[in-house]
């Protein structure tokens, strides 16, 4: 068991894995990493199973002192990485020695980055997951974001593993002006033809009111046929709710299990990690694709992972 001390916590640093699936019928939100792509890459770089927990850092990075050696990796948003104030590289295995201090510069592109620890972060597994669900104060590290002076344990099974480098084709791409691919939502019939046209042609801006639960967008209001309310029902990740004010909300990792607003569309899963790297002020447009296409893209995305899994 290795230990690391959080000297500075950063803006929002939480323990996340791929989420708490299988408990939504009990009212338990899935939570988990916002950028599921980058967390998988981080785990691969330190020889962890794909579903191991990492630290998800948001915008401002933490400063961490290691009390034991460990392999780590930093993926996701582009940010200068320092070990003992010397520049280190992202998207590759980093060898950490006892007493090393990991710190970060100013974020350059994207919003969220991930720190993987070889062997994984040692927090209790609650309902099959180590993810933090902030609103419920559950899971992860004491159900909350990390704070200065917290001590986290990791299971440093540093094998004599070599240095891995992320293949170019698996690095995230960043955009501040993204066309997001969508499928029609379960309540698309509750919108006027005009409302649907507005949604598919106008540009929307990510509002500062966005968080891990949902991205609130602002732009031309989307018109309903009658009203915005439905009898509350399940909410898939990436579904786009349109409340009465006509301003879209894209439901993200910490979304509640059930909600009562009309859903006009659903962002395809392959585009959610890209969205997770976007910041308030960034612009979105929506493009409808076919369900067959979306499932094909989903398969391709997973096949890409199979390729690197076999590439050690």
């Amino acid at each position: 068991m290795g230990k690391a001390t959080i000297i500075q916590a950063g803006a929002l640093t939480t323990v996340q894995d791929l989420g708490r699936w299988g408990f939504q019928h009990l009212g338990m939100p899935v939570a988990g990493a916002m950028d599921t792509h980058s967390i998988k890459l981080a785990n691969w770089l330190v020889n962890n199973p794909t579903k191991e927990a990492c630290l998800e850092c948001t915008f401002v990075g933490p400063e961490i002192k290691f009390e034991a050696s460990c392999d780590i990796a930093v993926t996701g948003a582009i940010i200068p990485v320092f070990i003992n104030n010397k520049p280190a590289t992202q998207n590759t295995t980093l060898k950490i020695e006892k007493s090393d201090v990991l710190s970060f510069g100013q974020i350059q592109q994207g919003l969220r980055f991930y720190i993987a620890f070889s062997g994984g972060i040692d927090v209790p597994i609650m309902m099959n997951s180590k993810s933090t669900y902030l609103r419920g104060k559950l899971g992860g590290f004491k159900g909350r974001k990390l704070e200065a002076d917290d001590e986290i344990n990791f299971n440093n099974h540093v094998k004599e593993a070599g240095i891995k480098k992320a293949p170019e084709e698996l690095l995230p791409t960043f955009s501040r002006n993204l066309t997001v691919r969508i499928l029609p939502g379960t309540e698309v019939s509750r919108f006027s033809a005009n409302g649907i046209k507005t949604f598919l042609t106008e540009e929307y801006t990510i509002s500062p009111m966005s968080d891990r639960m949902g991205y609130r967008l602002s732009g031309k209001p989307i018109e309903h046929l009658n009203n915005a309310d439905i009898i509350s029902s399940g909410i898939p990740p990436g579904s786009i709710q349109i409340p009465g004010d006509g301003q879209p909300i894209i439901m993200m990792a910490d979304r509640q299990t059930i909600g009562g607003y009309t859903k006009i569309a659903n962002v395809i899963q392959a585009d959610i990690p890209k969205l997770a790297q976007m910041k308030p002020g960034d612009k979105l447009r929506f493009k409808e694709i076919k369900l067959e296409q979306a499932q094909e893209l989903y398969r391709k995305e997973m096949i890409r992972w199979d390729i690197i899994k076999n590439k050690t």
Binding site: H25, G27, M28, G136, S232, K263, I268, Q269, A294, M302
Partner: protein, 240 residues
Amino acid sequence: MNQFKHIPAGETAFLIKFGNEISEEIHQQIIAYLNAIKANKELMKGVTDLVPSYADLLVYYNPLIFSYKEVLIKLKAAEKSMEVQLDDKARLIEIPVCYGGIYGEDLDIVAAHNKLSPGQVVEIHTSSNYLVYMLGFTPGFSYLGGMDKRIATPRKEKPRTIIPTGSVGIAGSQTGIYPIESPGGWQLIGKTPVKLFDPDNTSPVLLRAGDRIRFVSVNENEFKKIQELIDKGTFQIKIS
């Protein structure tokens, strides 16, 4: 016979719509459908989550295992084997509640609002079986149907910032139990020592959609005794 609508909800889920109202009949069809899916081992290989709500069932699946066309065929096959269960097969769970005083500070407000005595409110609240329509809002929070309108009371104008775990409250014509400490505007009439949400337990949430619950009034001493047994892990909740 059944005219359920299967609507794709993105490329990893189907929403099955059972109707456009909240009714026990629709609820029972949802539970029957959910059980038929769970009983179908072949289908369950690709199902990742099942979320029943008032009038819909959201079925999450893994598109690497089944395409949407395959899931649809399998769902419709499962549908044929669904059996709407008679209500007397549902679990009935007794929830002990200590009403009033420090346990339910708003009992007098609920009584005054409805021109009843606090005792009458308790009598009415404990005399119905409540149906668990669905869970949501917070982990383990159950949406209950069946409260007697004679004790309906509007929410508090100013919500409390902290409502303790186990609080039993009324909001409009709904009643419910807070499974975890959270803010909220419900009128609190009592408290149960029973843990509705216990993440460390193998079944972390006590109630399931489709259960029926009945509140049973206990006094402060009984409340404390039950609390002790729960702490020791020896309390047996009454399920019939």
